[in-house]
């Protein structure tokens, strides 16, 4: 495994591992950890760092919707043009062109059901190239970006074993 890949795996596990701990867990020095991460950032491989939040535990309302979009293209407008337009909205947290029954997959987040609904009906749906939107509101999140949200069953192993 390359040093880059090993660091990526560790940062995916926990982006807040200190460089000290990352060095301890790999065969790299702290300086090498720092420079490799800088390279990963410079090359655009690491695009950012975010917390994975369990919004159910936050007392404020938070709504997330998965939206399927179908579009029609013309000579003047390509997928990238549509993506460029949609991606500018801060409400859109994820935007992907996908294969299958629909064209774009969007994740939209907002503080209320009304806010998200309005955004989709007033900002997304009127886009001329969009022919259909199907919105799925997220009711429960069990796992997000590799992190499981349930508390788990704890460690039920014997505390001392042979």
């Amino acid at each position: 495994m390359t040093a880059k890949r090993e660091l990526l795996d560790l940062l995916l596990e926990n982006a807040r591992y200190s460089t000290e701990d990352l060095a301890r867990m790999t065969d790299l020095s702290e300086a090498e950890v720092v420079s490799t991460i800088e390279t990963l950032e410079d090359e655009g491989i690491i695009r950012g760092y975010q917390a994975v939040v369990d919004w159910h535990r936050v007392k404020e309302e938070h709504i997330r919707a998965e939206v399927e979009l179908n579009v029609t293209l013309d000579r003047e407008t390509g997928y990238d043009d549509i993506a460029d337009r949609l991606g500018r909205f801060p409400e859109v947290t994820t935007l992907q062109l996908v294969s299958g029954d629909y064209d774009f997959h969007l994740e939209v987040e907002g503080d209320s059901l009304q806010e998200v609904s309005n955004f989709i009906s007033e900002k997304v749906a009127p886009t001329p190239e969009i022919t259909q939107t199907v919105t799925h509101y997220v009711m429960e999140t069990y796992k997000d970006r590799g992190i499981e949200f349930e508390d788990g069953h704890g460690d039920d192993r014997l505390s001392i074993s042979p």
Partner: protein
């Protein structure tokens, strides 16, 4: 009711005492566990569930399902260069523990000495006693990186022993032995006509090099029983499935004990194991990579704390020297003061005195927290 003399000869387990101490306390992070913190790979679990749904709840052949024995033969040939005939050289057992037990009872006569390197897995010496044999401790030393040497075997009187049991990668030290380090041991064994019981349950958990089985050395196959299983590498401790590899006469003798005691290993677990061999290599590789990162973390933290700890390269244990020298007192005080459970090394025999067994088969977050607490305790 009067317990047998055999049973009375076996002292209470040193691990048991610490288990009870740890159970009494809240908020304990345990580095005392000798089993993976992962669950068995899903494919293996699915195969177990499927076998139950299909109603496969009968005994299997005494020696284990034929297709499982076939898969084991292929696996050990490919991975460890061990060639065994699935028809009469493989016995599927209820964990390596049962395999070692039936081997002792099948191959040891009353009064036979069995050389047991120390520190070692806690069940070997009692197993010898239950077979009416006499355990002969062979200390291994930190100066030799807890590896078994020709000299230690000779000094301990192992020349007169009937058998030698040992375990590399080692529980509790994490020590491994390379082919060139095993050769003098093999030489001693051949010179003195010993039978070898090689517990290789941690064979897949090595870091930075491949495992060598002593049975692959010249003249060793005919005098060695190799034990391996699914508990550690496949995180299947609770499914209790192991196997023994030996020449036909050894397996036949062991099977005679096995068929009258266990009859056959658990059927559900055999189906899980078959699937594990077929499709779980990637899961094993991932677990090994994770253990390796934790191993480096722990070794590095001990080094920074100034705790003397040689570089363990196998299993999922490190075996540092207890600061102050009294491992039992250190472990008790650490548990009481900081809620971190480690096992004093003398629980694994006299060779472990003054050391601590620290398992890194626990989540990285807890492991880091435990190391912080140990540092705070010092």
């Amino acid at each position: 009711m009067n317990p047998s003399e055999r049973v009375q000869r076996v002292p209470p387990s040193g691990i048991r005492k610490f288990f009870e101490l740890a159970e009494e306390q809240d908020d304990v992070i345990s580095l005392g566990v000798g089993e993976p913190d992962f669950s068995a790979p899903w494919a293996a679990r699915d195969a177990a569930i499927d076998s139950l749904e299909r109603g496969r709840t009968s005994y299997t052949a005494n020696r284990g399902m034929a297709d499982l024995r076939g898969a084991i033969a292929e696996h050990v040939a490919e991975r460890y260069d061990l060639q065994y005939d699935p028809d009469d050289e493989i016995l599927v057992t209820t964990g390596v523990s049962e395999g070692v037990d039936v081997a002792m009872r099948a191959l040891v006569d009353p009064g036979d000495a069995v050389a047991v390197p120390e520190p070692s897995y806690i069940s070997y010496a009692p197993g010898v006693i239950f077979a009416d044999g006499d355990p002969l401790p062979v200390p291994t030393r930190e100066a030799d990186e807890f590896k078994l040497t020709y000299e230690q075997l000779a000094e301990s009187g192992a020349a007169d022993a009937e058998a030698l049991i040992f375990c590399y990668p080692n529980n509790p030290t994490g020590a491994v032995m390379t082919e060139s380090e095993l050769e003098p041991v093999a030489e001693f064994v051949r010179e003195h006509d010993l039978t070898v019981l090689a517990d290789e349950i941690y064979a897949d958990l090595t870091y930075g090099h491949d495992h060598t089985s002593i049975a692959t050395l010249p003249g060793m196959r005919e005098r060695t029983v190799v034990f391996n299983g699914f508990s550690k590498a496949y995180a299947m401790t609770g499914l209790r499935l192991g196997y023994a590899l030996a020449p036909p006469e050894g397996i036949a003798a062991m099977n005679r004990v096995h068929q009258y005691s266990m009859l056959s290993a658990p059927t559900t677990a055999q189906h899980a194991a078959l699937e594990a061999l077929h499709s779980c290599d990637d899961a094993v590789d991932e677990m090994v990579a994770t253990y390796d990162r934790r191993r480096k973390l722990v070794l590095s933290r001990f080094d920074e704390m100034g705790i003397d700890c040689f570089e363990a390269k196998g299993a999922f244990y490190v075996f540092p020297k207890a600061p102050g020298g009294d491992a039992e007192a250190f472990a008790e005080d650490l548990l009481e003061a900081q809620g971190v459970a480690v096992v004093p090394g003398d629980a694994f025999g006299e060779g472990g005195e003054g050391h601590l067994r620290v398992s890194y088969a626990t989540g990285t977050k807890d492991l880091k927290e435990a190391m912080d607490r140990i540092e705070a305790f010092l």
